[in-house]
């Protein structure tokens, strides 16, 4: 039963990792950009949530109403102001610029909030749980998982059933020809980054409710998101959920064997999958 519990808890944890991964996967799909600052942006969202809850006395989930649009706007501005200038055949500029961004965000957070761990207070939500066939499931992890599923379904729907998604796919296929269709790729890329950071905002706030955080943890969140993307298979939005779940389960099962092995077990699961299925478990068919 303990093992079943570990697997169930890992699955729920995987929802959070899928949220880390979804934003990363989205912008890679649209513009082949890998954002090294992604993890730090998650942490930034957590801090924005913290500030909102403290200053306005709001519940963290209500703070999403402020943090999500804020992060989306920041994403659009960041893309149009900086990142669009780095896109091209050379992978160095986007990589190094987002790396620089990562260091800037991390140190700005240190300057503003200090290195002390912080946590958002979600009241009863944090401790509420339901019993299910001998397992005790926290309401918050369940909620996180449900939100992840909903967001990924929403992204999938946006990608394949809306004009915006059509524009994303067209620009991803061929930027020049998309431009001929009246699509300004710089604007489309801006929208993709806005959407990515909106998802990141949700991920960050849920992270900040679930555990304590400090400015240095961004790199680790980037790595979890990245591992979920690669495990699930590049270009597959639902794959990020599968990847997140596998990573989450590997971590909780690893922690069950030895608490010091939690993170290591996740990395090892990732490396094993990379070794046997380099394209991930569910690569995009087309």
């Amino acid at each position: 039963m303990e093992w079943v519990n570990a697997i169930v808890q890992g699955t729920l944890l995987g929802g959070l990792y899928a949220l880390f991964a979804a934003g990363l996967s989205l912008i890679f799909g649209v513009m082949r950009l890998v954002n090294i600052a992604h993890g730090d942006l998650i942490v930034l969202a957590a801090y924005l949530g913290l500030t909102t809850t403290i200053m306005l006395g709001m519940h963290p989930l209500a703070a999403l109403l402020i943090v999500v649009p804020l992060m989306a706007a920041a994403g659009y501005g960041l893309q149009r102001g900086v990142l669009n200038q780095t896109l091209g055949d050379d992978i160095l500029p986007p990589l190094l610029v987002t790396f620089g961004l990562s260091v800037i965000i991390q140190n700005a957070l240190l300057e503003a909030y200090s290195a002390d761990p912080q946590k958002m207070d979600a009241g009863v939500l944090e401790t509420a749980s339901i019993s299910l066939g001998g397992l005790t499931l926290g309401v918050l992890p369940l909620l996180t998982f449900a939100v992840a599923v909903a967001i990924i379904a929403g992204l999938q729907w946006t990608f394949y059933h809306t004009a915006l998604g059509r524009a994303f796919r067209a620009v991803s296929d061929n930027q020049d020809i998309a431009q001929l269709m009246g699509l300004n790729r710089r604007h489309v890329f801006g929208l993709a980054m806005a959407l990515s950071l909106a998802v990141t905002a949700v991920a960050g706030v849920l992270l900040g409710v679930r555990t304590s955080f400090d400015p240095s943890i961004g790199g680790g969140r980037l790595i979890f998101g990245f591992e979920a993307v690669i495990i699930g298979g590049l270009g597959n939005i639902w794959g990020t959920l599968a990847g997140g779940v596998i990573l989450g389960v590997a971590q909780t099962v690893g922690a069950k064997i030895d608490p010091g092995w939690q993170i290591l077990a996740g990395h090892i699961a990732f490396l094993v999958i990379l070794a046997v299925r380099p394209n991930g478990l569910f690569p995009r068919m087309t």
């Binding site: 004009a163 059509r166 524009a167 796919r169 067209a170 991803s172 296929d173 061929n174 020049d176 020809i177 998309a178 431009q179 001929l180 269709m181 009246g182 699509l183 300004n184 087309t286």
Partner: protein
């Protein structure tokens, strides 16, 4: 002659150190069908890309309805009513046939062309509208590419090598459809290597050779000898 819809004045284009176009002058009248011929590498596609905004030029080198558009981005050019059917069709592989057409109408200009009319023109596309664009034959893909450009309801449409790589019978079908497309007052530039085809649909013809205009004339009066000279550069 009507007012020119497009005027190209002293247009030069470069790829790095390589100069692809030298000092091109060209006009297209309102409602006119113009043909451009020339050998491979003569600069025809570069010229189309320059007009469509995929290559940026000096603003005044391309004038559309009196406006200097040479420095605009392709999406801004598209909004003003110029559509390109690119060489090699260049459909979006991630989009279905129908989506490829719909995205062509993204610029949101009013006019006679709609999904329904494109399907009337090319009924096979209606049958296949949910399919992946990559699953179509070459000829059908060319129909999608033409339909996609029409969906923008352009005033000037550019066809770049629409018969390249297609079976003769398909080329015939497409050329039979052309008058129905450009008949409604739309201006057109047709880039074509098949000289007979080019002469049959156009009122005037330009020949490019090594990036320069080597011949300009009315399609019904220009002689074969003149064309051979201009095309191959044989004196």
């Amino acid at each position: 002659m009507h007012e020119p819809i497009l005027q190209i004045v002293g247009l030069s284009a470069h790829y790095g150190d390589f100069q692809a176009l030298y000092d091109i002058d060209m006009t297209v009248a309102e409602g006119e069908v113009l043909a451009i011929i020339g050998a491979n590498g003569a600069g025809k596609t570069t010229l189309m890309w320059s007009i469509a905004g995929l290559m940026r030029n000096g603003a005044d080198q391309v004038r559309y309805r009196g406006e200097a558009i040479g420095g605009l981005r392709a999406d801004q050019v598209a909004e003003r009513g110029i559509a390109l059917v690119p060489e090699g069709r260049q459909l979006f592989p991630s989009l279905s046939v129908e989506e490829n057409l719909i995205i062509g109408g993204q610029v949101g200009r009013d006019g006679p062309w709609s999904l329904r009319r494109v399907f009337e023109l090319f009924p096979i596309l209606q049958e296949r509208r949910k399919q992946a664009s990559t699953s179509l034959s070459g000829g059908q893909q060319q129909m999608v590419a033409i339909g996609r450009a029409l969906m923008a309801n352009p005033d000037l449409i550019l066809f770049d090598e629409i018969s390249l790589g297609l079976a003769p019978v398909i080329i015939r079908d497409i050329y039979q459809a052309l008058p129905g497309i450009v008949g409604g007052g739309m201006s057109a530039i047709i880039v074509e290597q098949d000289i007979t085809k080019a002469l049959s649909v156009s009122s005037r013809i330009y020949c490019l050779q090594e990036g320069r205009v080597s011949l300009e004339g009315a399609s019904d009066t220009v002689s074969r000898e003149e064309i051979s000279r201009a095309y191959f550069g044989i004196e």
